[in-house]
Amino acid sequence: MQRIGVFVCHCGTNIAATVDVEAVAEAAKSVPGVVFSADYPYMCSESGQDLVKESVQKYNLTNVVICSCSPRMHEKTFRKAVESIGMNPYMLEIANIREQCSWVHKDKEEGTEKAIMLMKAACAKATLNTPLTPGMLPVTKRALVIGGGIAGMQAALDIAEAGYEVDIVEQKPTIGGKMAQLDKTFPTLDCSSCIVTPKMVDVGQNDKIRILSYSDVEEVKGYIGNFDVKIKRKARYVDEDKCTGCGLCTEKCPMKKVPNEWNLELDTRSCVYIPFAQAVPKVATIDPRYCLKLNKGTCGICSKVCGVGAINYEAKDEIIEEKYGAIVAATGFEIADISRYDEYAYGQSPDVVTSLEYERLMSAAGPFGGHLLRPSDHKEPKKIVFVQCVGSREEESCKGGKEYCSKVCCMYTAKHAILTKDHYPDTDIYVFYIDVRTPGKLFDEFYRRAVEQYGVHYIKGAVGKVTPHKETGKLEVQGYDMILNEQMHIDADMVVLAAAVEPSHTARRMATMLTAPMDNNDFFTEAHAKLRPVESATAGVFLAGMCQGPKDIPETVSQASAAAAKVIGVLAKDQLVGNPCIAHPDELMCNGCSQCAGVCPYGAITYVEKEFRMPNRTTKMRRVAQVNEAVCQGCGACTVTCPSGAMDLRGFSNNEIMAEVDALCL
């Protein structure tokens, strides 16, 4: 039988002015189960808490009801207090008689009456309270970072710095990501390679970090602290441990006509290749699509020239299984496919390029060694038109564009304009924009510099059509200047399209494996837009970089470090304390219909076949729900879906809530 103690707080006059607290304490005495009641000026004070603790011990109380301020204010305080004397903290209920009574009502008589009802409801719920113990989960003290771009590298470095092992899974043969492909970075114009390649080396040399390049995450099972991950190591036909990265095989390889994705297929590479000089790990990879040995059984030159015998044509894809305590998703972005924008003649003329292609054209490591040349005739362009927001800020119904702003295009276009003008001052540059967005440190100054110092022509308007003229080799750009309200015709040598960024095409597959939510654009959704921006709603999964939304390099790096801090917070614990107020199924009632699993936003519900004892010493296999206590967050969506009432929520059980309803209505 419950022995409830009711403690009514005056909160100075905050409660006592509108609620007759003594009357509430007195009324409590006649509530079934209540064996003690008292009122006190400040229940949350040290002495108030002592009163609660002493009374629990003196009257052998099994439950405590505190009539005070909102539970959001002091529920934790009082739970801690009773826990300190050995009482289960979940045997305590709060009646909110301040925020939801004394502060909102004026009439003392009515206020007192409502306070008594609230007290009774809390007692009714308390009567049904059961002691709850949070589950303890072990933690595997290793982290997985999915994606080896700047976000993944930064996160891995920070986690390793704290002393934990990290694996980076990168689908390409090298880490480095998109940042390694950039020429310069805005607004400081430092050389992208010069800052990213030392980072890559740091990652490569860090003995806490293992790089699993040319690999894919195949399966993720488990939950925070205990993820089981299957990783596919694709066959690269070169032994990573033996290869020294000397590059002899790449020189001798006769198959030199493979489109070079590193330079966005603006030039070609050999079939056995190292993506670029500073690649990490610096090992060769054989492209199985083009290799003569693998496809036709001929050639085999690379094997002959390799001094260390690293080439292995028999290599097979390999699946490795690893355990991790936390996962960082840093799957990055791609440039959206803009081939459907016929009006810009992308695909019709090689001189219409995306900004990332332009970046490669300008790069010293690019196809033309840093000389800005037109891809078609290798001549220097004299007149360049930049078009902003290609595929961004557009209704989805309109050619399947992106509704969001890609965020980085305004700034990199200003960068392109400035860099071009720096090297080739006589170039004419036009930028067609909808808005120029430059929020960021030194961003607007940078853009103003392009306009004012460099004389870049910024035109608010749109480009309607780009027509390549074969005879002249010019691109006729028809645009519209919204400010002057007039049509424009520009005979350009090149057109650069600021194509929208979009999440990596592997992101959705990854999100499904991680049971992490995504938005309609396939960006990972953060657990809270304001307060938990680097966490996925799935516990133990953290987000860094473009996979969560468009952002520039410093933002990506900050988010990566923040995600790393969150990962360290998980790995630093020997055990994770769960939330005890979670769903739990009554297996005897569960009918295995699977409706609850369908509504769980966290994928916390699974089903098992279990043997049950039946009458007459028989047994029966039945499918029943199981809640993963580490994953469940306690929303209760499943409890309503369950027609059998088998699924209930601890701390807010059906009967507890109905007891409150009864007490408040009667």
Partner: protein
């Protein structure tokens, strides 16, 4: 048809495909049919029946039958196949333990409709080209089959078999039925009229639980109304509130899973049109969230556990008359 079914059942039993048959068994009268499991050719030949009164949806019995040793043969009318799929979706049937034969159906008769015509003391009923020739102790009667057909068959939703291993007879199409007409009629009444209608109907409920026990969606291990800890424990309706509560909760629990097979109304000894509650849910979610037919496919996501972020109606449309 009956002879054909028996013949095929015997074949399947003899070649070892199945070891028993779930079918319909004749009762004392031509119209009181009960579902039964037959284990031998002799039993089948003696007692198996398939006639105009075989309305029972056999799919629910598969929950228990497929847990037993060996394969069971079941005959499924088109509307029963939907329940069959829904049960599969909910993991209630072990598919490998059942051999399903889809059989054609052109509507079943409801003996109650004959009685309402004043036909009593029925000895035998024969369907001759759409006319029921009825022999009674008072003499012979003739009733067109259409006039004796159960409401759910008049408003048949589908003649298509959505699941079977083998088909006997013809497969049809999903039909454009008028099954929501009565729901619409009720919706157009005033709140007071609706209240009076349902008060009148539900107050006859004797809480015999026949609707629940026959319902292929009611497959809980223990019904909340039988579970003292559920907060809904209720063996008999003590007043009009409890009568309503039972039926609201039951309709809510089967919403999104109910295939509108109409068994609840068929078995109700008080002739309460319970299917009108289920159809209200079906009509609402069809209108609000797009057309959905429980059991049309295995593994469908019911609108009751689904949502859209931007396009779902707000509950306030009920006041505004949107879903009334």
């Amino acid at each position: 048809m009956q002879e054909e079914l028996i013949k095929r059942a015997v074949e399947l039993m003899e070649d070892g495909t199945v070891n028993r048959v779930l079918g319909w068994q004749k009762g004392q009268f031509v119209y009181d049919i009960t579902p039964a499991v037959f284990t031998s050719a002799d039993e089948l030949k003696e007692n198996f029946v398939y006639n105009d009164f075989c309305g029972d949806n056999l799919s629910k019995y598969l929950k228990d039958e497929t847990e037993k040793e060996g394969k069971v043969l079941v005959f499924l009318k088109p509307c029963d196949t939907y329940s069959f799929n829904q049960l599969l979706t909910e993991y209630k049937i072990h598919r490998e333990n059942v051999y399903a034969i889809g059989i054609e159906c052109y509507g079943k008769a409801d003996v109650e409709l004959l009685r309402r015509k004043g036909i009593d003391g029925i000895l035998d009923v024969k369907n001759e080209n759409g006319t029921l020739k009825i022999a009674t102790i008072y003499g012979d009667e003739e009733v067109p089959m259409m006039e004796a057909m159960a409401e759910r068959c008049v408003n048949c939703k589908s003649k298509k078999h959505v699941a079977y291993d083998e088909l006997i007879g013809e497969d049809g199409e999903v039909l454009d039925s008028n099954r929501f007409d009565m729901v619409e009629k009720l919706e157009q009444m005033s709140a007071q009229e609706r209240f009076d209608f349902w008060q009148g109907e539900l107050s006859r409920c004797i809480r015999c639980n026949a609707c629940r026990n026959v319902c292929p969606a009611c497959t809980c291990e223990k019904c909340v109304f039988d579970n003292p800890d559920s907060g809904l424990y209720n063996k008999a309706a003590a007043d009009s509130f409890e009568e309503k509560m039972f039926h609201i909760i039951r309709a809510y629990h089967v919403a999104g899973r109910c295939t509108d097979c109409g068994e609840c109304s068929r078995v109700c000894p008080e002739h309460i049109p319970l299917h009108l509650l289920n159809r209200k849910f079906i009509k609402d979610y069809n209108e609000l969230y797009g057309s959905f037919m429980a059991g049309a496919e295995v593994g469908q996501v019911s609108p009751m556990v689904d949502f859209t972020m931007d396009n779902d109606a707000e509950p306030s449309i009920v006041q505004k008359g949107g879903a009334e």
